[in-house]
Symmetry: none
Subunit: 213 residues, 4 copies
DNA sequence: TATGAATGAGTTTTCATTCAT
DNA sequence: TATGAATGAAAACTCATTCAT
């Protein structure tokens, strides 16, 4: 059994190494331009080995995605964690700030996540992984919805459908970040990305606030 | 002279035909997966002919983009056109509705426009066309900013930076549409795209409204 | 008859214009890189017209070649023309100098002529033109042979086969010019092309001189 | 280790096979007309494999060139090698004979070497290889210069600049061979190539001989 | 398990030549 | 005679994936 365990650990480690290599390469050259040769070279294994651990390029991508999601989720959870009772607004602020932090700290993962939302990429990913990705995302969104739900319960916010409102926030923040990621758009709207991001949240929040008739 | 005119017309028509073919192919297979062979086949001309009318694949893309932008812009202008004095809110509503109409009526062009915001597309497009694309986009955004500016002037809205606010709205709507374009996200947030779109706007609008403390 | 004549003249002129254009384009971009489109554009006629006057790209080349040869031949003839009786050596010197002048004054034609000596080019040229090219070249070589023949007759030079000797000189001068045309070779043999050219001739001449046992 | 060695050997062999194939194809169809598909077909491998062993078409050319140069150089060295003290003339004769032998035995390589002297081949070849090609050429020329230098030292020959004289000889022989390689020129100068070659050398030699005033 | 050699379909772009008008 | 639109066969190079060892 010990041997088996060691083997499994070895295997997991190797897989992780390749994943790291792929991340480095994908993010440096761009997913499209990066080749499996690049990945193998960076991981210092042969190309065959890469295929031993991953079915395809897409599969590597899916794994990276999952990794990114997992990081994001833990950040969101940490941001939500009620060490002490918090107002709904405070919760939201912290979640949104965590999202910003994620986008800043892990721009590569963030871009990957955004890319998922376009992309014909889906069809080529093992179905199982896809489900997992779906679930994880949902969990993140659920945290936001929860905060909004709390707000409506407490009368601080007005939202007929908290999940929808959470979705709106999510989309809006993504939209803001996407826009500001483009140099051309930055020229058109000459403000710092952070300002755009914050303004998006503030407008959204005010829009939700209940005394708002 | 008639001959020359006929020729010019023929030429324009042929170019348009190829553009149509390219649009069909790009949108069906995805820009990346679509090949110039596909375009030529769809247009029922030889590949050489395609290159007679367009310098490169990127150039075709740029042309399509410009076409899409031009449609959008005319819709926005029509939506803004003050047949009679309108409130800022009314203006915004109409602009946003026009954007929705555009996204619905020309989903392909809409996707193309969204796609512009990624990729190193810029480098490979004739500089002149790029500038034009940039200018047209700016004009669209300017209409929104104008409406917001009117609102602040009239005291109906509060926005320190109307252009920024317009950008936020634009990003938010794009984000909403992007999210809902993805089946997975649709599963996560079980509402109609239109509902998501409208909610985004309503929240944004309420957020801007001045009596909002 | 007059109409026919005018027509013929017109035709010849047009052909000459295209030839000029082709020369400009071929020599600027290199024969290989120059396209028939380039030629047509430079000549300010349509591509179809170019084909009306020349069967093919190769045919244009052949015409240019012939033109170059004709220039060279007239230079050689002028150089040889015995306004007064000249020694064989003097004749040779003047012919060789004329060759150098040609190479300097018409580097493009000169390169073309050299290119003829390699080149699979032959097969694709109308047979008639080929014969003409052959004849013209022969006439040039004949002038050199004649000078050498004179030298042997007068006892100043020793050459069993004057035509062969002329060929040797021709080849040697071409070889010198070819070598010096290459930057790499220039690095290897750090002298001026003219020095190399002259030395080649001087050595050849001394080699022919009769007191040379 | 044995495995690694076998692999290396296999790899070298395969590369050599492709090189042979390329040589055959390039020489049969002409470098320009030969395609990488041709090379692959001749080598009985896929095109991808060719690119596995060589970066580009130019790189193959450079390899062939280097190979040819190396053969030539070893022939020249062997021809020069003074088993016993030799006169300068003898040395030169042997070097020139070796050059002839090379041109006869390896006409393809010879043509390739001549071809080097044109084209913008330089830019497209790995810089390192280019330097090597340059060096090898220089070494060959140096042998000739050395013999001439010996001759001037011993008083048998007169040459102000032995390297220049060597260059002249080289150019002259190339010129002779180039001329005779062309059927048209052969018609014009009806002698055997060998006669032309030899005459070129004899004239050159006599030209150098010191008692030659 | 690990290797890395081999594959070959696929991609964009070019250009001499033809031909209907 | 002149036009210029149309052709389509190339051509060089790439890369995800497979497979014998």
């Amino acid at each position: 059994m010990t041997t088996a365990q060691r083997r499994a650990r070895e295997k997991a480690r190797r897989q992780q190494e390749i994943l790291e290599a792929a991340k480095a390469v994908f993010f440096e050259k761009g997913i499209h331009r990066a080749t499996m040769d690049d990945v193998a070279a960076q991981a210092e294994v042969s190309k065959g080995t890469v295929y031993l651990y991953f079915q395809s390029k897409e599969s590597i991508l899916a794994h990276l995605l999952l990794e990114g999601l997992s990081i994001l989720l833990s950040l969101l959870k940490a941001a939500y964690a009620p060490q002490e009772p918090l107002s709904a607004e405070k919760h939201l602020r912290q979640l949104v700030e965590a999202y910003w932090q994620f986008a800043q700290t892990y721009p590569d993962y963030f871009r990957l996540l955004l890319a998922l939302d376009r992309g014909r990429f889906r069809e080529r990913v093992p179905a199982g992984m896809y489900q997992q990705i779906l679930m994880e995302s949902t969990r993140g969104l659920e945290l936001v919805a929860k905060a909004i739900r709390q707000g409506t319960r407490e009368g601080a916010l007005t939202a007929d459908d908290p999940l929808l409102a959470a979705g709106v926030l999510w989309g809006a923040l993504n939209g803001a970040l996407t826009l500001m990621a483009n140099p051309v758009r930055q020229e058109m709207i000459p403000v710092e990305p952070k300002a755009m991001f914050d303004t998006t949240f503030e407008l959204f929040l005010r829009g939700l606030q209940a005394n708002n008739r």
